[in-house]
């Protein structure tokens, strides 16, 4: 990981690209996170790629409910020669969940971004093939949002079996 000062230097470089790019930096448990405005996500990713973070280790989504903006997309980047990791985060709201797709920089972001779309509803602009990947294609709803119910079947005991749907005796 870059240490805390290294992280601030990176944030400074990103601000040089665009003054509003960096919304915040976090140095927690020796892991670095840079939060970037969604509009500048691609520029920030290209800058980090040029700095050596050429490997996309993971792309995943988070729902920060009830904090706004709710939906977060994290790109976990890795600099292999220096064994350095950094997390590039962008947060969007449910009303306007658009984030530029980074498939152009890392082709390996294809399936993970589709999964974030499937599970959280974040729309990746510029993604070559944005459709549901894990749920059936006609599924409605975004399951991993925090306000989506876990679902499941109620456990059948003798006291409630007649009241449950599907009881056929």
């Amino acid at each position: 990981m870059p240490d805390a000062t290294g992280l601030e230097l990176i944030a400074q470089d990103l601000r040089a690209i665009h003054p509003d790019a960096v919304l915040g930096t976090t140095w927690f448990r020796e892991q670095a996170t840079v939060e970037v405005a969604p509009a500048q996500l691609r520029a920030a990713a290209e800058a980090l790629h040029a700095r050596g973070y050429t490997f996309l280790a993971s792309c995943h989504g988070v729902d920060y409910y009830p904090e706004e903006p709710r939906l977060g997309v994290h790109y976990q980047l890795l600099d292999m020669p220096n064994v350095d990791r950094i997390c590039l985060a962008a947060r969007v709201t449910v009303e306007d969940p658009h984030v530029p797709s980074l498939c152009g920089i890392w082709p390996g972001a294809n399936h993970p971004e589709r999964e974030v779309f499937d599970m959280f509803g974040v729309v990746f602009d510029g993604h070559p093939d944005l459709r549901r990947i894990l749920m059936p294609e006609d599924y409605e709803g975004f399951p991993q949002r925090r306000d989506f119910p876990v679902g499941g079947e109620p456990v059948i005991f003798t006291y409630n079996e007649t009241q449950l749907p599907g009881w056929t005796q």
Partner: protein, 221 residues
């Protein structure tokens, strides 16, 4: 003469029922009766049933972790070939036993049903593991218990069930096919009458079951 006519009628009824079942039209109670009818009674039928039970062709249907334990059953330690079931067929048309091993997601359920429909009569299904019998470890939006969309003959509990447990379940099914359906535990341990029944007076308001003996009485003495 009478016997022949009865058997023809019986056959016709069974054909219609089979067609209904293939269309998925049979409601649950008749489905159960239909499945139970498979316990055949004439000597020739018994012989056929004995042969069928000893030569099941399972379908290769591994879904998740239970599939690895199912592969262990085929392996050399718990050899399924000594019972005659080593011929796992890839095509459902050639298989008679569907061992549902693993969690059935909602995307996979129609596929499973289609595979089951493609199997020819007589066919059986074993739900291996907790995930396909009930919801298992994961009680959530993504899984469906197999009972909801296809008839299951034997449920094998476990997560994943040991190969010995799966073998026990398969042998129980074999006994059932051959007409020696094993007694339920209530018959075996002389425990008929210990069921808890939701009485007629109970409605959604009363949460507790009523012991069939009523209050004040006990099962013994």
């Amino acid at each position: 003469m009478e016997v022949t006519r009865e058997r023809v009628d019986d056959l016709r009824v069974r054909q219609l029922r089979a067609r209904e079942m293939l269309r998925g039209d049979i409601p649950d109670k008749e489905l159960e009766a239909y499945v139970e009818e498979r316990v055949l009674t004439t000597t020739l039928d018994k012989a056929v049933a004995w042969a069928r039970g000893n030569s099941l062709f399972p379908a290769t249907f591994g879904l998740a972790c239970c599939a690895i334990e199912m592969m262990s059953v085929v392996g050399a330690r718990l050899d399924i070939a000594r019972f005659g079931f080593e011929a796992f067929r890839a095509s459902p048309r050639q298989a008679d036993l569907l061992i549902l091993s693993g969690r059935v997601s909602i995307k996979m359920a129609p596929v499973v049903r289609r595979i089951y429909d493609q199997m020819l009569e007589p066919r059986w299904a074993i739900a291996m593991g907790a995930c396909c019998s009930s919801m298992g470890v994961f009680n959530n939006y993504a899984i469906v218990p197999a009972d909801k969309f296809m008839p299951i003959d034997v449920h094998v509990p476990g997560c994943p069930p040991r190969p010995e447990a799966l073998m026990h379940g398969i042998l129980k099914l074999r006994d059932r096919i051959q007409g020696n359906a094993p007694e339920g535990w209530r018959e075996r341990y002389d425990a008929i009458g210990t069921e808890e029944v939701v009485g007629a007076a109970d409605g959604p308001g009363s949460p507790f079951a009523v012991n069939v003996f009523g209050s004040g009485e006990t099962g013994s003495a």
